[in-house]
């Protein structure tokens, strides 16, 4: 314990957005220092020799779906929470080492981790313990919408309601925040991954062709949209034809993808409407006057703000650099870590 605190002098405080799709690390006074996919590639040694980590992050993501028998590329987080404890710990350890400046002294930082507001006590403890296992001296937790609101630049300390929608890889969070606290929050297990799955299912159903997750993600990034636009975009993709068993090439357009995404989009819109229904009237009027803030990678889906705007009739704005909002917000909260009267953090 003593050595940990001693090593802590040489370690910078970190804010980690441990996301299903991407892990971002914000170092105090340095900004975002790491943005890598939450993917770990594991090699199974022959003759029961155990497992070794082959690659983490970007490198491992390239292996996703392209691995031989001896290697497995794993996404250790699912729906915003830990699915594989040990591998998450290894991944965090790798990332913390990667952003640690000194090679001589083992890192022992204070770490602030963002957790989905819908996560259970067990899931939160798992996150806390895996961070501690990865070498963190102290672990604090903050709920993702709160962190996202701070990162977006909302004045969360004011007695004014602000509504944040954070669409992550595994979960979407909707929250009403006022006076540094969450008034209402809801978390649904719909996010960027669900969009990918919907695209995969759509293509299989309508084209009889199987595409991989990486291809689905590429389609989403290129032509995915949430609201019918003026122009129709197209993309050529290749997948395995289920009937022939041979890889075939075909073309998809943005309207098809819009159709494919209807189900998860409707789920998100439904949760937003539910949140507005549950919001106390004063805060609701604040939200109506100023608008809803969209954060998270999911809000980069074309015209997602238009969709929410049309569905709710309220102004919707997308935060600046929505992908890093949560990590940046955590970083701002980290700077207030030593301030008295902290009520931003959550307990297990």
């Amino acid at each position: 314990m003593f050595f940990r605190s001693l090593r802590g002098i040489f370690s910078n405080d970190l804010s980690i957005d441990l996301g299903t799709a991407n892990t971002l690390i914000y170092a105090r006074d340095q900004g975002i220092v790491l943005n890598e996919p939450s993917v770990v590639a594991i090699r199974h040694e022959r003759k029961g020799g155990g497992k070794t980590v082959v690659a983490v992050g970007e490198e491992a993501k390239l292996m996703l779906g392209r691995t031989p028998q001896s290697i497995t590329a794993i996404r250790p987080l699912k729906d915003g929470v830990i699915a594989d404890f040990t591998i998450t710990e290894k991944m965090l350890q790798y990332f913390i080492h990667k952003v640690h400046a000194s090679r001589l002294i083992r890192p022992s930082p204070r770490v602030l981790i963002c957790v989905p507001c819908g996560s259970t006590q067990v899931e939160r403890r798992a996150i806390k313990e895996s961070a501690a296992g990865a070498g963190a001296r102290e672990v604090f937790l903050i709920e993702e919408p709160m962190s996202a609101a701070i990162g977006a630049g909302l004045a969360v300390h004011e007695p004014r309601g602000c509504m944040v929608i954070d669409i992550g890889g595994g979960t979407s969070e909707v929250a009403i925040i006022s006076l540094n606290g969450i008034v209402y929050s809801a978390s649904i297990r719909v996010g960027g991954d669900t969009f990918d799955d919907s695209i995969i299912n759509y293509v299989r159903r309508n084209y009889g062709t199987l595409i991989g997750e990486a291809t689905a993600e590429r389609i989403k990034h290129s032509i995915g949209s949430a609201f019918p636009g003026n122009e129709v975009l197209e993309i050529e993709v290749r997948g395995r034809n289920l009937a022939e068993g041979i890889p075939r090439s075909f073309t998809l357009n943005s309207n098809e993808i819009l159709e494919a995404l209807q189900e998860p989009l409707a789920a998100i819109v439904g949760s937003v409407k539910m949140a507005l229904e549950q919001t106390p009237p004063e805060l609701g009027s604040d939200v109506a006057e100023r608008g809803i803030v969209l954060t998270g990678g999911g809000s980069l889906l074309r015209d997602f703000d238009r969709l929410i705007e049309e569905e709710t009739g309220l102004p919707v704005v997308v935060a600046e650099d929505p992908l890093t909002c949560v990590a940046r917000g955590g970083g701002k909260a980290l700077e207030m870590l030593d301030a008295r009267g902290i009520d931003l953090f959550t307990t297990e």
């Binding site: 630049g153 300390h157 919707v316 704005v317 701002k332």
Partner: protein
Amino acid sequence: MTNQTQATDPNDQNVVEFGDSPGRRLRVQRQSRGLAVERIAAQLHLKPEIVEALEQDRFDLLPDPVFITGYLRNYARMLGLDPLPLIAAYQAHAGTPKSIEPTRPIPGADLDSGGTRFLVRLVSLALAAAVIAVIALWWHDRPEVSPELSPAATELGPDATALALDARSIDGSASAVAEETPDTATGPVDRSDRDRVAIPESRESPIPDAAEPGSEPGSEQARAAVASPTSETGSHTASSAVETAPPGPSETPSARTTTPAPSPGATPAPAQIPTDPVVAAAVPAPTPEQAQAQAAEKGIVLEFTGPSWLEVRDAAGQRIIAGEMKAGDRREVTGQAPLRFTVGRVNNSSMTVDGKPFDLEGRSRGNVARFSLDPESPE
């Protein structure tokens, strides 16, 4: 607004120059398309005032920067403008966003214990005052004990007690003893040594015998001395002395002092030895004449059947006797009343006042008795 925009003709609204404020660019674009503010506001789901404030660059009327950037982006997209230069221009205008402040409680305004805290503080203060008062009272009423004769010392063996006694107290006690028995035959004994004073006084029967003739005039004086106090307390003491005599001549020294009067001096002493083993050591010591003389002086006698210690102070606080006692020691106490006694090892000590046994056990705590006594009013 920048200097460049001020330089341009404000009436020429269709000219958009580089470096124009974002609001002006949006207004120019909207007017060129012939759109009303209300229509824009309806499409953006904003109030017309907000759109006007955006066009007039009145950012102070608008909410947080995140909203302003968002409004600008949405407005620009609606008009078919590239939002990025507008946002960049706005950000050049705008200052740093407000930092988030933690909601701190007002100091001293804790709702949980606000009312009760004062009460608790008051009660604890009162309790503390009460405790201090009790300690002060106890300290004040406590009989004075010389530091050498602390109760702790009494728990140790007699040797330790002896070590604790300083030379001064030994001298004092020795001199006190010497003063008490000036007319006994122990005169030639070295008075600086207390033991040597004590031992011949109590143990050696020849000495009292030898003192017998010498004590005759002393007893006369003693009787005279007794007469003077009894003139006040009356015949009560005299009669009580007489009354106590018949049932147990061996019980008290006062009884012994009365019994020799009719009988010759040396005879009662050996007779008393077997009758009272407790005071056996002390019994042979005082001859009736000597005891009579001492009792006549003041009437407070302390006898010791084992190692003990004794301190007596008079009304002025002057130490009359202080020192270690051994088995068989006997002390008569005279001094200005009220006298303050500290008797260690009560189980080895006994005391009589005017011949009446005095209850030491009842006044002892932890085998040490501390009490004040005025012999003229014994109870």
